[in-house]
Amino acid sequence: MNRLVRFQWLVSVTLGLLVLRLLHLQMIRGGYYRTLAEQNRLRLVPEQAPRGLVVDRRGRLLASNQTVFRVAIVPQELEDFPDVLSRVGTLVRRSPDVLRRAYNKARSLAFIPATIVSHVPKDVAIRLEEERWQLPGLLVKPETVRHYPGDTRAAHLLGHLSQPTAEELPKLKPYGVRPRHLVGRLGLERLLDQELRGRSGGLMVEVDHRARQVRVVGARDAVPGERVELTVDVPLQSLIEQALGDQAGAVVALDPATGEVLAMVSRPAFSPEAFAVSDTAAVTESLEDPASPMLNRAAVGVYQPGSIVKLIVAAAALEAGVITPSTVLECPGSLTIGDRTIHCWNRDGHGPMNLREALMQSCNVYFMKVGRRLGAARLLEAMKDAGLSYRTGWPLEEQPGHLPARRLSEGEVALLSIGQGEILVTALQIASVAAIFANGGALVQPWVIRRVGEREFPPPPPRRRVKWSPQTIDAVRVGMKAVVNDPSGTGMRAMSVLVTIAGKTGTAQTHVEGQTHGWFVGYCPMEHPRVALAIITEYGGAGGDLPAEIARTVCEYVVAPETL
């Protein structure tokens, strides 16, 4: 029967087409669909590694981790949304509208918890947890966040964390960084981000069609980040921070023998924890404050040095033979070069004085005369030799400062000899200069990391020895001792009965009329120096005032038993 044969044909062709489709789905595209099936059933539940601790030279905590609680909502489990919002709102003191907006922003898939409050204190978390049984859909999840026990302490050294940007994410992904993770942004948190981060672990979980866990198919433990030990001494750091108080400025304390940073203070400061817990208000305030609390004034801030460069001028002049320690020069109160008259700070004049007296009194005329004898070339060479206008090479952010590269007029040479004009330095550079006099001629490289995990980082060798003989350095030291320990020295407020301090003050004019930066550079104890210091107070008056007092505080701490 003809018609029945057609039936058979029709069915055969249809079945043939079905088999072709099977071939396509299972043989040609089979691998693709197998992957899709695997993606369907497997979920990665990441476990973030606790970030490495940062401790000082004695193991005192500078950065650690703490548990906070995240409040989230699981969309598919919600029953009474307004009720949940109002209950949570009352406890965390936020309006339901704010929470609803946060929820709408965070919501993705039905089974993925949407965070409505990032961090709540433990007591609130406990109360929420108690009420959770009658608020279906609510989730209170413990989370580890970075904690800085000293709040703003050493903030600029430590830096802070923040969420990676969209551009950074692809680069960080191989290291296990996910959008919610935080990465180091500034300071050591950025420099040692990889070491501190550790390796995230996680569970590979098989889920069913409602994303409910069926079983765990694989697990990798999170490896905590490495512990970082710094050369910093926390009590000294705190002491200086307290001493500066609300005064803007910077202090660097180095071990003059090794260049280890014992303390580095920059004020005003930010709170790194505000960044870690995404406290938007505090973060915005820190970023937009005109006082620039984010700026590390100790290494990135550049200032005119004022009289503290006289130490370098003196050493260079002695070394060049243009003066001897006993060369006497007259200070009539001002010096006229060409048609320009530059006054000494003592307009009545210091009279005749030798090097020791000139340093002690910080006589401008004496050093302008010395500077002119030295000439621009030898002056600048000495300054560069002492490390000015070059980066110190320490591991964190810093500025090189500035020295003039053009031909200088005689007046400009004179100004440069007293630290004014076209010259900018950082406190870190000046602390290294202090260390030269303390250690007898070595330009150390500042260093702040002692140990990362099991790896030791000994301080690098000095960058070089400056071209000053021991006699030259000793002659300058005599002047530095007089600055602090002679009743008529400019730094006499640093004088201590507990310790002999050598120093030099500086009071740098600024572009604001009548406002000066106060400097103190020095070391102690004179006999066996254990700390080299650079202190600057921004618009803080004379170097003989607060900077000298801070120097005394630091030095008395350093020589007290059971400290460094």
């Binding site: 029945l4 079945l15 489709r21 099977l22 299972q26 089979g30 197998r34 099936a37």
Partner: protein, 364 residues
């Protein structure tokens, strides 16, 4: 008295064996599909298979010609059940398809298929060729009434089966080409109108069929997950009880309409090829039976059953592979469903009877 052994020997094994293997494969797959769903389903499915085989054997022992007068009462009874289902039936998955009787769910549309084939075969058998228009219209009404009742349940897929069965049977019974052309023309005009008759969900399904990604978590979900399941099986399959799409419930309706997806996932291309091959064997055997039967009533019975099973098998397999819209047509002999299993096997029993009456049995 015929001994059971003789009864078995008198069967057409070419017809029984493919169907039996398909049924048993279906049972095996059901164990896996029901494992996380509801293991009791597999046990019940086993009972339905047993009942279906018994009913089939019983029907095959009867002389189909002697009982042909029962076609009308059976048809009316099934029709009554269909009307009853609309009146009191249980609503499941947005449709009223089931009747609950003594705690057992029955789907009257399944016996309706059988009785429609039966009645159409009986009615068309005595008609002259080419079929007069009057006969065409009457036969269309016989198939159209149950189709309509099923359509308004609503069950578009099952309703279409009645139309296909009718078309197959009138074509085999000698429909003139002129009528065929009329029919084709009429359909082209009516189809766009039909779009407006469709329920929203039926239109959605058609739209989603055209592009499953429109609604990946809604209506498109079924097709996507089914295609993933079949594709992921690759050559050898992921193994019995080991299909993740199946065991983790990503596959919806995997015990009924999507049983073939489970086969694709767990038995791979080879398993699918076996199922398609067995259907090809079974259907070829049925069409040969029709060709070999000169007696019109028996031949039309075979053609009706052929159209029914061929259409359901092809549409179901195509549907789960994303080739046809998801219209809710189960895979004959394999999908879960007692009335479907019983009706299909009784239809095969009829064909056994046709064969026994039309060929001189060697052992008699």
């Amino acid at each position: 008295m015929v001994t059971p052994m003789k009864a078995v020997r008198s069967m057409d094994l070419g017809l029984v064996l493919p169907a039996l293997v398909l049924t048993l494969l279906g049972g095996l797959t059901m164990v896996s599909a029901a494992a996380t769903l509801n293991p009791a389903l597999a046990v019940r499915h086993g009972w339905w298979i047993a009942l279906g085989l018994a009913a089939s054997f019983g029907v095959s022992r009867l002389d189909y010609r002697r009982w042909s007068d029962l076609a009308w009462p059976a048809y009316v009874l099934a029709l009554a059940a269909l009307v009853l289902v609309l009146a009191v039936g249980a609503v499941r998955l947005g449709a009223t398809r089931w009747l609950s009787l003594f705690g057992v769910s029955l789907q009257p549309s399944e016996p309706m298929k059988l009785t429609t084939v039966w009645l159409l075969a009986r009615y068309l058998a005595g008609q002259p060729t080419p079929l007069p228009t009057r006969v065409l219209v009457t036969s269309l009404a016989l198939a159209g009434v149950p189709a309509f009742l099923v359509f308004i349940q609503p069950d578009l897929g099952s309703a279409s089966i009645f139309c296909v069965m009718w078309l197959g049977m009138v074509w085999a019974a000698g429909m003139s080409r002129r009528h065929l052309a009329w029919l084709a023309g009429g359909l082209t005009v009516l189809l766009p109108l039909g779009w407006h008759v469709l329920k929203d969900y039926q239109r959605d399904r058609l739209m989603v069929f055209l592009n499953p990604q429109i609604d990946p978590l809604g209506a498109g979900y079924t097709i996507i997950q089914s295609v993933i399941a079949i594709g992921s099986g690759r050559l050898w399959g992921r193994g019995w009880l080991s299909g993740t799409q199946n065991q983790l419930s990503f596959l919806p309706e995997r015990h009924s309409d999507f049983i073939f997806s489970v086969i694709g996932e767990e038995w791979g291309f080879l398993g699918c090829l076996a199922v398609a091959g067995l259907f090809a064997l079974l259907l070829t055997r049925i069409i040969h039976l029709a060709q070999d039967t000169s007696e019109p009533y028996g031949r039309l019975l075979a053609v009706g059953v052929f159209s029914w099973l061929a259409y359901q098998a092809c549409v179901n397999m195509g549907m789960v592979m994303g080739l046809f819209p998801v219209v809710g047509i189960p895979l004959p002999l394999m999908s879960y469903g007692g009335t479907a299993m019983g009706s299909a096997w009784m239809a095969l029993g009829f064909l056994q009877s046709v064969r026994r009456r039309n060929f001189a049995p060697r052992n008699f």
